[in-house]
Structure formats: C-alpha cells, structure tokens
Amino acid sequence: METGKADRLIDIGVTLICWCYFILAFLLFFSPFYLAAARNSSPEHRFQRLNRVFYGGFFALLRRITPRQQWSIDPEIAGIRSSVVVCNHVSYLDPILLISLLGRARTIVKPLFFSVPVFGWILRRSGYFPATSSGPLAGLMLMQMETMEQFLREGGNLFIFPQGTRSRDGSIGVLDEGAFKIARYCKAPVRVLCIRNTERLFTPGKFFFFTRRPNRISVRILDTILPGRGLSELKVRVRQVLEGCTREA
C-alpha cells in the first residue's frame, strides 16, 4: 500500500478511536460517576475532577496512538492555583487540553453549547458559564461570577481564551477584556500560557486528525502577572507576551 494512503487510513483510524473514546468511555464508564456527582450537594468540584480524568484519559490515549506527535507540557502547569489563566487558542483541542492539565477550573463557554443535551448539562454542573448577561443564561453567569472570588481564593482557576475564538493563522487577534476584568475584580494573578502546534494535529475546519507529520505540541507558562495593574496595562502586557508565543512558532 502506498505510504500516503496508509497515512490517510491511520488518520481515519485515530479519529474513529478518539470518537469511540468520547462516546463509549462516557456512556459505559463515566456516566454513572457523573450521575452520582450530580446528586452531591455541591457537584461543581466533582464534575471538574471527572472532566479532568475524562479528558486526561483522552489525551493519554491520543498520545499512545499518535507516536509521531511529541508532547512537552510544563510540569508547573498542574500546580497552578487561584489564578486567571489566559492562553492563545489555535485548535478545538486547546480547551479540553487545559481541562486535563489544570486542577479545579472554570471556564467561559459559548452560550450555544449550553442548549446541547447532556453536554450542556455537564457544562452547567461543572461551573462553566456563558459569555452573556442577557436571556435565560443571565442568571447562570451572575451566579458563577458572584462566587468567583471565593472559588479562586480556595484554589480554583479560571481559564479563558481572550481571543474568543480559534486563530486560523496563529496570530493574536483582538483580546477581550473579560479575563482581565475578572482578574482585577477578584484580585487574582494572571498566568499567561502558550499552546503550540495543536492545530497541526487537529486543524480548524478539518474533521480528521492529521497524525502523519512529525509534530511537537507544547504548553508552557510564559508569564505571571500579579494583581494591582490597571486594565489597559494588563491587556498590553498580555498581548506582548502572547505575541512572543506566536513569534516563536
């Protein structure tokens, strides 16, 4: 068989295995744990832990079946606590990668996803919240913001992609100020992370993983900015740091 054709089949196989993991591992193994966690009086922590294990399992599997991909994850990331984590965004893999790496973590999710059956329920229970202050989800956003300061104080993290959406060319677009405002409001440090090359493995707009090309995926902490800076200054500093991440690519 031609090498190109074999590689294509490998990509299809990897994609199928990943989808099987998402569906079967959830239905057969994780769903009872999620249901049990939902009965807990404060399910958020348990859901976040389950999400971390679920996506951690996904990446463990992905690493095993994609030997041409090298992974370099800064070990200090697992120790991040009580921080607002901001990061560049280049692939759908990025948010679930951060969920698998960070401990207790909340994040902001597109409002549309909250109406997806099962997935939307897990998002709510996990303490994730929509980027909207109007409509039926306004109450959820308010509730999560009211408890954000305490959540961060107790060791939780909030991660946000301030670009809002994936960058198609890796450049840093307009940064939404929401993450910086929350950091200011909660007096939390901002940790700036750089994710590289996930888009080479799972490219925006493509259905199949692209595993044939040797690739090095990395997640690094670029900077820690302590609270006390003004909003404009914070935004400029984060942009400079994230642009440094892009230049290295």
Partner: protein, 85 residues
C-alpha cells in the same frame, strides 16, 4: 442618599476604578466606555458596600439591562425606595 450624592459617588467609581474618561450621564456604557456585564457585577459589589446591604439576585439581573449612567441612578433610586418601605 440623594440622587446628586449617588451621582457623585458613581462617577468617582467609574473614573477611578473603571478608567472612564470624561463620562456623561447619557453615554452608552458599552459602546462609549466598554463597560460590560463583568464590570456591572463589579460595580454592583461596590454599590453593596456603599449602601451597606446585599442586592438580591433579581435586583442584580435587572442591573444587567442598564445602558447609561442615568439608568444606574434610576436603578439605585428604585432600590433605595424599595428598601425604605
């Protein structure tokens, strides 16, 4: 607290804490000053400190519809009147 006193306090907060430049009472908070729901939540927590009481979830949800500084003052006056009953 009178409306003038409220106005003075709110304008001071908006300039000092939210980096507003030369705010006018009928400016659109979002379009003219980039004031969004997260700012609104932070402002509400400062308002709670000024008033010395907590706002209810319903009162906070109503605040999300505020568009101008005049709206903020109207909102605060209603809250004060409601608590004064």
């Amino acid at each position: 607290m009178t409306r003038d006193e409220l106005q003075e306090k709110i304008l001071t907060i908006l300039v000092q804490d939210f980096e507003f430049k030369d705010p006018k009472l009928d400016d659109n908070l979002r379009d003219d000053h980039g004031f969004d729901s997260i700012d609104a939540i932070e402002l509400l927590s400062k308002i709670e400190i000024i008033f010395g009481f907590s706002l209810t979830r319903e009162e906070k949800e109503k605040a999300m519809e505020i568009r101008t500084i005049t709206d903020i003052l109207d909102y605060l006056e209603k809250i004060q009147q409601g608590r004064g009953k």
